[in-house]
């Protein structure tokens, strides 16, 4: 029995299909990530799973309850950390937590105890009695995470928990999330568009693009799909076809004026690749080699890099129509 089951969940806003027949399951205690660029549909998926938005079709259950039929039961079992700030800035940190505890029906002693514990966890005890309006962005984020954890939810949803935070705060937040996941076996569903976050933190990752989950597995298995090193060539002209015939090239993805080639022992293949381009009269401007990352997995399944998508207003997309997926 999975604690979270999502079946063909779909939501359309006017023209955009924000979430398009998304299905996945999450077993209890997992730290599950949804990785995708801006507009992929991560927040919309979360809003449906947390009963804040009605799906157009499909179904989902959280902790054994249907998100459409049994909204109150679902709400009782979950916690949510929103992407956008959701604190009362005219209350102190402690008062925000107290509000939360009472709304979840926590008894006075437990409430007091938990407020102390979670404030300690996110290192905000000394600022607890200040108005939230005086907190920095990172402190507000930490308070929101503390609040999400406070009532021991069975499933905690975190929508881009580290968006816009500095590296140090981000690492701290990862640590809280890990600890909560380990100590209380809290199932965590988090969204992110940082691939390092998905890679380093999540047990399994669903890669999301344009409302669909295009790949879903452990970060390791996903990277193994690429199976080799990634050599990225920047070139004046030409396309991937010239490399198609080479036996040692396992896959080619073109994005803009760059080619990403999947090859074993990349450092030894670079001279061969450059020579091959020269043979076709094509000049290579730069070369980059790296071990496969989730970025490459995204690239392979969508034909675009996460960064392309982030920058990708509709206008830009018109200029560079998305490259067809190879193979």
């Amino acid at each position: 029995m999975h604690i979270l089951e999502v079946e063909n969940l779909t939501k359309t806003f006017k023209k955009v299909t924000a979430v398009d027949h998304v299905s996945f399951q999450v077993p209890e205690g997992e730290l599950f990530g949804l990785l995708g660029p801006n507009g992929a549909g991560k927040t919309t998926t979360m809003r449906m799973l947390t009963t804040l938005l009605k799906p157009d079709s499909g179904s989902a259950s959280v902790a054994g309850f249907d998100v459409i039929q049994s909204r109150n039961e679902v709400r009782a079992g979950i916690g949510m950390v929103f992407q956008e700030p959701a604190l009362d800035r005219q209350l102190t940190g402690r008062e925000n937590l107290d509000f939360h505890g009472r709304m979840y029906g926590m008894k006075k002693d437990l409430r007091k105890l938990r407020i102390r514990e979670v404030l300690d966890l996110v290192e905000l005890s000394d600022r607890a009695n200040d108005l939230v309006e005086t907190y920095s962005g990172g402190m507000q984020r930490r308070l929101e995470i503390a609040r999400g954890l406070m009532h021991f939810p069975k499933v905690l949803f975190l929508d881009e928990p580290t968006l816009g935070l500095d590296a140090q705060t981000r690492r701290k937040i990862w640590e809280y999330i890990r600890r909560m996941n380990l100590e209380h076996r809290t199932t965590m569903i988090l969204t992110t568009h940082y691939m390092e976050e998905a890679d380093g933190l999540c047990g399994r990752v669903g890669i999301m693009d344009k409302g669909r989950i295009v790949a879903l597995d452990t970060p390791k298995n996903l990277k193994d799909l690429i199976g080799a090193d990634v050599v990225t060539l920047e070139m004046e002209s030409g396309d991937g076809d010239i490399y198609r015939g080479l036996a040692f090239v396992k896959d080619v993805v073109k994005h803009g004026n760059r080619l990403s080639l999947m090859v074993e022992n990349g450092e030894r293949k670079i001279p061969l690749l450059i020579a091959h381009a020269a043979k076709h009269g094509i000049e290579v401007l730069s070369v980059e080699l790296h071990k496969p990352s989730l970025e490459d997995v995204f690239l392979r399944f969508t034909g675009a890099t996460l960064r392309d998508r982030e920058a990708g207003d509709s206008e830009k997309r018109k200029m560079h129509p998305p490259m067809a997926r190879r193979r």
Binding site: T50, T51, L52, A86, D88, R89, Q90, E95, F99, M103
Partner: protein, 257 residues
């Protein structure tokens, strides 16, 4: 079966009190307008007698129930529309994702909003004693208090209804200009409605505040256009309707991004 969580209602009420206490200047600011009406119009028209004004009542005394009604109207609408602020600052999502029944949330909002707005109403009543106003009987005072409650809940319900159907705060000024001010001017708070042109009369009778102000006059001055019981019956009905409408619209409202 919808359950009501007393703790949640209390918490929402308490939050409203804390926020208001921390923004005292706003509360005082809200008192200024009705007081200005009393001071400037009351003294400017001191000697005026308008057709339809009760015998032996000077203008400023006539105006006092109107100023109380005005203060209740504005602060209650504002209280209902507070939901827009919560939407804007994202806090509404935090409220809506909790397992508390939507009815409890509405009740909490109404409890908080009505407390603030009744406090303001009572302050105006208290301050009006400086203008020579005297309460003539306990039963009259109690009648006035009943009407104050009805006015408060009616307009919190109306404010909540608008807030539930508005995406953001942009519509706030529109509601103020095209809903609140007409309600105020048509209610007879400032002048006897007998003087208004005939084509406006239907609107006067559609205006809930008409019955509210008339009821307040019955209680505070002992004179009214309609029998107070009629005022009560009409306003109580409208009030129940508004509170229900506000609750339903709120429950089905979009929480926003």
């Amino acid at each position: 079966m919808v359950s009501i969580s007393g703790q949640a209602v209390y918490m929402l009420w308490l939050r409203e009190m804390k926020r208001t206490w921390r923004a005292k200047s706003r509360m005082i600011g809200a008192l200024v307008m009705p007081l200005f009406f009393l001071v400037f119009m009351g003294s400017g028209f001191r000697r005026a007698t308008l057709p339809g004004m009760p015998e032996g009542v000077d203008y400023i005394t006539f105006l006092i129930p109107g100023a109380i009604g005005m203060s209740l109207l504005f602060s209650s609408m504002f209280g209902g529309l507070q939901v827009l602020w919560d939407k804007e600052f994202g806090f509404l999502k935090e409220i809506m994702v909790t397992p508390v029944s939507r009815l409890s949330i509405v009740l909490g909002r109404m409890a908080g909003g009505s407390t603030i707005s009744l406090l303001q109403g009572f302050m105006i009543l208290l301050l009006s004693t400086f203008f020579g106003f005297r309460i003539h009987s306990l039963s009259g005072l109690l009648t006035a208090v009943v009407f104050m409650f009805l006015i408060a809940f009616t307009f919190i319900g109306l404010g909540l209804s608008f807030a539930s159907r508005m995406k953001d705060m942009h519509g706030f000024q529109l509601v103020m200009n095209f809903v609140v001010f007409p309600i105020f001017f048509l209610s007879g708070a400032l002048y006897p409605v007998q003087g208004l042109p005939v084509w406006l009369k239907p609107f006067v009778y559609l205006d809930p505040l008409t019955y509210g102000v008339d009821g307040l006059r019955a209680g505070l001055l002992g004179t009214s256009v309609h029998p107070p019981l009629l005022d009560f019956a009409v306003l109580a009905t409208i009030c129940a309707g508004m509170v229900t409408l506000g609750s339903i619209l709120f429950e089905t409202s979009d929480v926003g991004q």
